[in-house]
Amino acid sequence: MTNNSGVTPRSAHVVPRHRADHRADSEQQSPVARPLDAEAAVVVERLHVARGGRTVLPELSFTVPRGQVTGLLGPSGGGKTTLMRALVGVQRVTSGQVRVLGLPAGTPALRSRVGYVTQSPSVYGDLTVAENLRFFARLLHAPFTDIEAVVGQVDLAGHADDLVQRLSGGQRSRVSLAVALLGRPEMLVLDEPTVGLDPVLRRDLWEMFHRLADEGTTLLVSSHVMDEATRCDRLLLLREGELVADDSPGVLLDRTGAVDVESAFLAVIDARTDRRAEVPA
């Protein structure tokens, strides 16, 4: 059985909360890694990514604070998915540095500490919800007791034995989210997890995100729907691979004098365009 294999499970116990807490005691981390625990959850420096011969992220630098819900917002095609893939270490990058939880992105040690939800649900349609979760729990060294908990968290308690392909699109994406919650990773990278869900569920999920953040989890949540911005502690607005804003929603609204984030977004872009237009003149 996976959980007896001597690998510390990504524990669902209340204390200590995260796998990292176990490893701090049990495993000698390299001496350089320890002090970096104080650094932001994500530190990106001059990241450049090209896909299919085109530059998608020209030169991106930003940080994501720990223990908060950071929203990655912007129109479709802006590079949100590409950026998230870089954070979880599956995107080939041309240059620049990406550090996650104090380690270079994609390091084996990070793989059990970061949960990732791809934009389209990545679960097996021909397995039941419970079978999917059991499979991923074994890979993530998460205890099977987590399964019931995460199924409840995404509000699929009555569907544990349903085949995933028989579920609706929204339910399927929640199964995919449940997988990422297994073993309580310290960081969650969620690519458009609330798209297509009904408003009540959406609110519930955002409440859950904040509960997790209160317990110390760092969340990076992308969305192309601007009105989700107000639910985030912090906003990164990404457009054509460029970061046009990096603020809390309140500060962004104050700074632009806009009534909502969508207008603020437009105001910021207009200001940038004006500035650019002035340069050659």
């Binding site: 270490g89 791809t118 990545s122 079978e131 060294h141 085949l163």
Partner: protein
């Protein structure tokens, strides 16, 4: 340091794949029933001509598991890639070798079933002559199926779609079928083709089947054949693991 392979992860993949196959009745039928139907068809074609059936039986017993497993594995792996589950798997602590070994084990288990059924049918019901131990036929068939799976895993790394994966069949498998000694004995092939035939793994599978048919005990030739089949399978798996990239463009 993390071990490159963990038995728990390998077994998790095996269990999952078998679970999926269990639900997929059509694929299971393709894996088990089709070889039997084809072997029966062959027997019927040479109605009463035992000599010809005896000549074609062993190569076909070697080819079916190889071809079918090649197809099923390459398409299944491609599906894993296009559904995004591969990307997710690669963000988990699981090693790449665990994924491939898990797949090979699952399809190997199916291959055991397939081989036993096909051998029982050809030897038991259709009366193919075999002088050697019959279980060796099954062992060779299983190794063959695993080799097919391993090659399927390997080529799936070079296919972007399931459609392309299927097209690798004529490219990778048919030359082996033509040169394995089924149509022309390998000794009688033109020199160049004879050399090519010597480096294609399916040739050894066919040789092994024929060896079991004509020799009453395990021969050193059989050991070589079996060694080559198993070795090629391992090489294909290692190459597949090396070509599977965590980071993609």
């Amino acid at each position: 340091m993390r071990a490159p392979m963990a038995p728990a992860a390998t077994l998790a993949v095996t269990t999952r794949v078998l679970n999926q196959l269990r639900r997929d009745h059509r694929t299971m039928a393709m894996l088990i029933v089709i070889p039997c139907v084809l072997l029966t068809l062959l027997w019927w074609m040479f109605d009463g001509d035992d000599q010809t059936f005896n000549r074609f039986g062993p190569p076909l017993l070697a080819m079916f598991p190889f071809i079918i497993m090649f197809l099923v594995t390459s398409v299944t792996t491609l599906r894993e890639r296009s559904s995004g589950t591969l990307e997710r798997l690669l963000t988990t602590p699981m090693g790449k070798a665990d994924l491939l070994a898990g797949y090979a084990l699952a399809f190997g288990a199916v291959a055991v079933l397939q081989a036993v059924v096909a051998v029982v049918l050809t030897v038991g019901l259709l009366g193919m002559d075999v002088r050697g131990p019959i279980w060796v036929l099954a062992v060779v068939a299983v190794l063959d199926a695993i080799l097919g799976s391993a090659l399927g895993l390997l080529v799936s790394a070079f296919a972007a779609t399931e459609f392309q994966a299927v097209q690798f069949m004529p490219a990778f498998v048919l030359p082996q079928v033509l040169l394995c000694g089924l149509f022309v004995p390998r000794e009688s092939l033109p020199d160049v083709l004879s050399v090519v035939s010597d480096v294609l793994p399916l040739s050894y599978a066919v040789d092994a089947m024929r060896e079991v048919q004509t020799e009453s005990s395990w021969t050193s030739g059989l050991s070589v054949d079996v060694g080559v089949i198993a070795g090629s399978g391992l090489v294909a798996l290692a190459l597949a693991s090396a070509t599977l990239r965590r980071r993609t463009a």
